[in-house]
């Protein structure tokens, strides 16, 4: 298929439809509303289900109901709506029904604003609801990736009977760029054997997240954790750019990761060995690739410091520090409130690190306050 000029939100919606989406339930919220609008036009045209719910709370429970019937179903929202959905997300995770959720992240906390941020990282990767569970979280950095990861999200949700979340930021949702949509897949005709379709010629099916005895609920949790461990082992996705011989390793995802590439290319032109590790799955986080790159720091030419760039006050940086385990300093540069870092801002950070490289190398130095970013661009951790 040929490339077309597509807006991120519309591309995600159309990709979901082509992946065999059978039902969509949602509630308007900027900056994802075009996604819902596209669904409202296309789904009825195809004889599939579209419903604008009265709230995100209702939307996620409609999604929960439809997923219990064993069909491909999704919803989309932004931070404030995802917060309302957390109740349903927890029930869905415990019930082990496959669901795809799209979060087009906006500025927060609170009502915040409608500018792009990445500040839902903790919310999405650390559980997104009460109790012990994790969701697969995919972070696109372009409209093409938004399309590809949407299709992937459905396959992973089905494969593991789990929640799969597409974590785009307002930039990915709102920008237009050329991208190629997948071919139209027919929705599956048959329903899984666990679906609630009526107990016809078989024992009844029950889908519940209530397990009153400690033994039973522990068994459920053990099963969930085993599944999460399988996901950690098998579904890590990431991109590396010029990372193999990098002295300064940038870790950034989504839009921040894309901007970092420009800064890294410029740094290379200036003779600085900068490179990128871009997590594509925020959960499972690419700990092994990070570990390998930092391990190589025992060699002559290798990572001497790590710079995490996020459109938040610093959330993924905690995972990076866990992965680096103090072997090299980890610095952070972030913008909040919907401000998007310019390549030059990141380049300044890289240049600053390159200058300091010879002065400070002892582990733990990243906590020193004198290593904060330039005063005009704060947010150092």
């Amino acid at each position: 298929m040929a490339k077309e000029l597509l807006k991120g939100n519309v591309a995600i919606a159309e990709a979901a439809i082509r992946a065999g989406l059978q039902a969509y339930f949602g509630y308007p919220i900027t900056p994802q509303t075009e996604l819902l609008e596209h669904m409202s036009l296309r789904m009825p045209q195809l004889g599939r289900v579209f419903l604008q719910a009265e709230s995100e709370l209702a939307a996620i429970n409609m999604v929960y109901g439809a997923s219990c019937a064993g069909v491909r179903v999704m919803t989309s929202s932004s931070g404030p709506g995802i917060s309302l959905m957390q109740e349903g997300l927890s029930y869905i995770a415990c019930s082990e029904v496959p669901v795809v959720v799209v979060d087009i992240m906006r500025g927060g906390p609170g009502l915040g604003n409608i500018q792009p941020t990445q500040a839902d990282y903790n919310q999405l990767t650390k559980g997104a609801g009460h109790g012990d569970f994790r969701s697969i979280v995919l972070a696109p950095s372009s409209v093409q990736e938004a399309i590809d990861f949407t299709v992937l999200a459905f396959d992973l949700a089905d494969k593991y009977r789990t929640l799969a979340i597409l974590a785009g930021d307002g930039m990915v949702g709102q920008m237009m760029e050329p991208a190629e949509l997948p071919a139209m897949q027919k929705p599956p005709v048959s329903r899984p054997n666990w679906a609630l379709t009526g107990a016809r010629s078989r024992p009844k099916n029950i889908i519940t997240s209530l397990f009153l005895s400690a033994e039973n609920l522990e068994e459920v949790n053990t099963r969930l954790q085993a599944k999460i461990n399988r996901i950690k082992a098998e579904e890590v996705r990431y991109e590396e750019m010029l990372a193999n011989d990098a002295e300064i390793l940038i870790v950034a995802f989504g839009t921040a990761g894309r901007i970092a590439k420009t800064a890294i290319r410029e740094a290379r032109l200036q003779g600085i060995r900068a490179g990128l590790l871009r997590p594509i799955t925020l959960f499972p986080f690419p700990f092994a690739p990070l570990d390998r790159l930092v391990q190589d720091s025992q060699r002559e030419r290798s990572v001497k410091s790590v710079l995490v760039v996020e459109m938040s006050a610093g959330q993924m940086v905690e995972d990076v520090r866990l992965g680096v385990r103090g072997r090299v300093p980890v610095y952070f540069y972030g913008r909040t409130g919907g401000a998007v870092p310019l390549p030059d801002e990141i380049l300044d950070q890289i240049l600053g690190l390159a200058r300091r490289q010879n002065e400070v190398t002892e582990p733990g130095a990243d906590y020193r306050e004198d290593l904060q970013g330039p005063a005009s661009t704060p947010m150092a951790a």
Binding site: L57, K204, I207
Partner: protein, 257 residues
């Protein structure tokens, strides 16, 4: 010639009900209403295409008592879940079973919108004027002056407002098709309740839209009354505030009869 004794089966457990003991308290009318629903599902021959949605509350374990495909919803969200289940398989029969805290308090938005959309589902609303499962706190339908775990001096309507009349409220919405209030405190009301259950399912089977039955129900344990006294309490205290009757029967439903 020897006299031949013939044994006739006069009543059997409906196939839609499981042969298990319930956890309901002695004298609680949940079990009775379960039985009526199970009988009607058998009678209409819809057991193999019916999906039930259980609430949070005393009837949270409903799926143990019905031989039906069942989902267990979050507190108050059963109508939204039922909407999802029904929209993707309109040929199935979907019902929710919800208490007063679930439907009239935390889930009031979900029930109003399911009714407003004319969602083709059936709702069984059990109003016993108290939160049973958490041990007897004030419900949105507790009566003025009613003593509960969270209104120890009696429900003060100056502070909490008057109890909410859900059947009247939902009947007032343009989207609802069949909204009635019944009870189960004596043989006559039980028979009426059974008829209404049959009508409500037939409304859904004919695609006529949203159907809801509010049952005035008893909670002897948390009311602090013996089972028989509790049935009288429904009649003497609840019925005057929540009159039994048909609140909405659209023409399409009348034609079913």
């Amino acid at each position: 010639m020897e006299e031949k004794w013939v044994e006739n089966v006069v009543y059997e457990r409906p196939l839609s009900l499981s042969g298990v003991a319930t956890h309901y308290c002695p004298g609680c009318t949940h079990g009775l209403i379960h039985k009526l629903i199970g009988e009607v599902i058998d009678e209409l021959g819809i057991r193999e295409r019916t999906v039930a949605v259980a609430p949070v509350g005393c009837s949270v374990l409903l799926y143990n008592y019905f031989e039906l495909d069942c989902a267990e919803a979050a507190h108050g969200r059963a109508p939204a879940m039922a909407t999802g289940l029904k929209r993707v398989q309109p040929d199935r029969i979907v019902f929710t079973y919800q208490g007063d805290g679930d439907l009239a308090s935390i889930g009031i938005a979900e029930i109003i919108w399911a009714a407003t959309r004319g969602e083709n589902i059936t709702v069984f609303f059990i109003n016993n004027a108290i939160y049973g499962m958490t041990g007897g706190q004030m419900a949105p339908t507790s009566l003025p002056g009613q003593v509960t775990g969270s209104s120890p001096m009696g429900r003060d309507v100056e502070m909490t407002g008057m109890p909410i009349r859900m059947a009247e409220l939902l009947a007032g919405l343009p989207g609802s098709s069949y909204v009635v209030r019944r009870s189960v405190y004596d043989i006559r009301t039980i028979k009426d309740a059974r008829k209404a259950i049959r009508t409500a399912f037939r409304v859904q089977m004919s695609g006529a839209g949203f159907s809801l039955i509010e049952f005035l129900s008893s909670c002897p344990t948390n009311w602090g009354l013996a089972p028989y006294e509790a049935l009288n309490w429904i009649k003497e205290n609840m019925v005057p505030y929540y009159p039994l009757g048909d609140y909405k029967v659209v023409d399409m439903v009348k034609e079913l009869k």
